[in-house]
Symmetry: C2
Subunit: 401 residues, 2 copies
């Protein structure tokens, strides 16, 4: 009953006084809940750490913070201190833009996940807690009361290293109960991501379910392959078992993914009820996946009618110091030819703080010089999922109609 009263208080946007907090939540009792999200864009965090000297919270949730802490206490960008109340530490972050946020605690110099929050997310080799601040900007990250698509994790045979490679496939609601054929979007992850990234961090299935249910996007199949050719599958799912691969691996942006990409299209078109034609095929990706989308569509001008580059890497020289593979040569010539053969949509988006901003500016200047038409969207923030989820939601309604 005490817990109920506390939560109602927080939901009403009121911070309980230390007295109330002590009454309701005795350290050690563990009758606390964290995080507690209010409708008003505030999140209250609690951590029971009686022996700790200093506790901070970090993660992308601290960036937009305008909360009730003293900024002078902040030792570094992105670290917000918690207040100690008899061993129970707490902080409230306010004015949070509705979004899916990540966070961790830092207790006396050690990263600590919130023991009261079982929602965790792996990004590359780092694990964080997640919290969803509800509101207009994040409403499509949860699918409620709409028909749900299914998600498959399947394996296709690759001639590269002669292995089975894992991919995720979203099939729209109604796929199993009809004979309909669907257009296909190939949705590519960034370096360090894998075939789970757009589903976990990107909430792609929920975004698709919602947009399709509202009639804002066409029902489509979405294929999410693993773009790192040195790995067969996301960590834990492949022949490596629970061994941890290094972050920097070969065959990310060296032309191998692009060379073997037709294997994926063949597998998908022979396994699912696709419309196997350029008019009904799109590609999009973030960062390295934007790079792959750029060069895939330029090298296979008959494959994609829609191209989406989200915060894309564009410069192939960094990963090919000893000379460019064929896939990355003659970009201008290839893109001109690609557009001669027909491109319905060439969509680019990047954040104003993105470390790839200048590279993208140069690439757009190249397109402009060649009179290549494209749609360009510039957003706030940098190289991050906050943007990529929004770019996806902005891109999907433009496809196949």
């Amino acid at each position: 009953m005490k817990k109920l009263i506390l939560n109602l208080c927080l939901l009403a946007g009121m911070l309980p006084s230390p007295l109330h907090a002590q009454e309701a939540i005795m350290p050690g009792m563990r009758d606390i809940k964290s995080p507690v999200v209010s409708e008003a864009g505030s999140v209250q965090f609690w951590l029971n750490a009686p022996h700790a000297k200093k506790v901070y919270i970090t993660g992308n949730i601290t960036r937009f913070n305008k909360g009730d802490f003293d900024p002078s206490e902040q030792p570094a960008k992105g670290l917000v201190p918690l207040k100690n109340d008899g061993g129970l530490w707490e902080v409230r972050l306010d004015s949070l833009v509705p979004d899916l946020y990540t966070y961790k605690f830092v207790v006396d110099g050690i990263e600590v996940l919130d023991p009261l929050n079982s929602h965790v997310l792996r990004d590359v080799a780092s694990v964080s807690n997640m919290v969803l601040v509800p509101g207009e900007e994040s409403k499509d990250f949860v699918a409620a009361g709409v028909p749900r698509g299914s998600v498959h994790t399947s394996w296709y045979r690759s001639c590269f290293r002669d292995t089975d490679r894992r991919l995720s496939i979203y099939l729209p609601a109604g796929y199993d109960s009809s004979d309909r054929h669907y257009p296909v979007l190939y949705l590519l992850h960034g370096m360090g991501g894998d075939e789970t990234a757009w589903l976990d961090q990107g909430r792609a299935a929920e975004i698709l379910d919602n947009l399709i249910a509202r009639g804002e996007a066409e029902p489509m199949i979405v294929v999410m392959p693993n773009g790192n050719m040195a790995l067969d599958a996301a960590p834990g799912h492949g022949p490596l078992g629970l061994d941890q691969p290094n972050f920097y691996l070969p065959h990310t942006m060296d032309g191998v993914f692009e060379t073997y990409f037709p294997e994926i299209v063949n597998y998908v078109d022979s396994t699912f009820r696709t419309i196997p034609a350029k008019e009904s095929r799109a590609v999009a990706g973030l960062s390295m996946g934007g790079f792959h989308s750029l060069y895939l569509s330029a090298n296979y001008p008959g494959l994609f009618n829609y191209v989406g580059l989200f915060s894309p890497a564009v410069d192939p020289t960094q990963f090919n110091k000893n000379g460019l593979p064929e896939m990355y040569r003659d970009r201008r010539v290839k893109i001109k030819d690609q557009f001669r053969q027909g491109v319905r949509l060439y969509y680019m988006a990047i954040g104003e703080d993105d470390f790839l901003y200048e590279d993208n500016k140069k690439f757009r200047a190249e397109l402009d010089a060649d009179s290549i038409p494209y749609i360009y969207k510039e957003s706030k923030f940098g190289h991050e999922w906050t943007n990529w989820r929004r770019y996806l939601a902005d891109y999907l309604p433009r496809l196949f109609r």
Copy 2:
């Protein structure tokens, strides 16, 4: 290079001396790897925590430990202390039976995940790290060089609360490239689990891939529904978004799951290429899922030819204080009728330390009194995944042949 030398040492089963450790791994450098698994059943853990006063490791990995620590330092069962070497903490656990283990650190009283291990597992509302000790007993938890089945997460319509409910479906390798029809195993999770439990903790897809590839199990479809009728889906995937449901929810063992179960069979038989007949249908489950398997098979005697009860709950009174629902009444009569109609296999397994051991003993006595034939396996350990993975691997080869 230093890191490479260190790892080779550990792989050879030798513990590096503190001197070596200090040379190779300066605190703060973070050039450490954790966990480091050796072929010999030892795992070395490292944690950089310069300000910590006391660090322990906990989780099921500490139970079998015969390592190099001083047991007198152990403050509680299952807590093994780490040694502090200039802020770098370490412990080696030896003589580990090959298995998938979970662990966490406890730093000055706070649970801390290993920041160097991105393999995490949610069990109920608690998140732990995972580490795999390779060997004969755990070899099937990784699938390497064998054809891989696909895993679907789909949604079926339930008349209970009129919602879509999520389930996981394993389709064996070759399903997509043939017109073959397959037998179906319904594989049920425990209380607090969900439709992801047998895949994540249970490594069911990998176990099936390996056993089918070796010809030890028939190719089959495996359906893993969500057995908690108060929830539509595993945390994070349903309409609740990232809200955290309570552990204790209604509609776990109150007859509702059993009442609405035919919806799942209808969905599966109408969506996948099943052999829709009792001869080709099995059910099995752990704990609450064993309870569900018992009462489903007894109440629908025409449904299942194979029944597997893994550490099952058997007593329906605990969750039905105000009287038994129809599904749980007249058990003896129903089971006798079930066997009269034909049961090819009634398989039971439990660990000698299981808290349900006595309940199971009584249930077996009831079966014996009624001359009901069954296979009974008793193992070491208690109510835990170590056993359930083994029971599954022991059960699968007995099905559909």
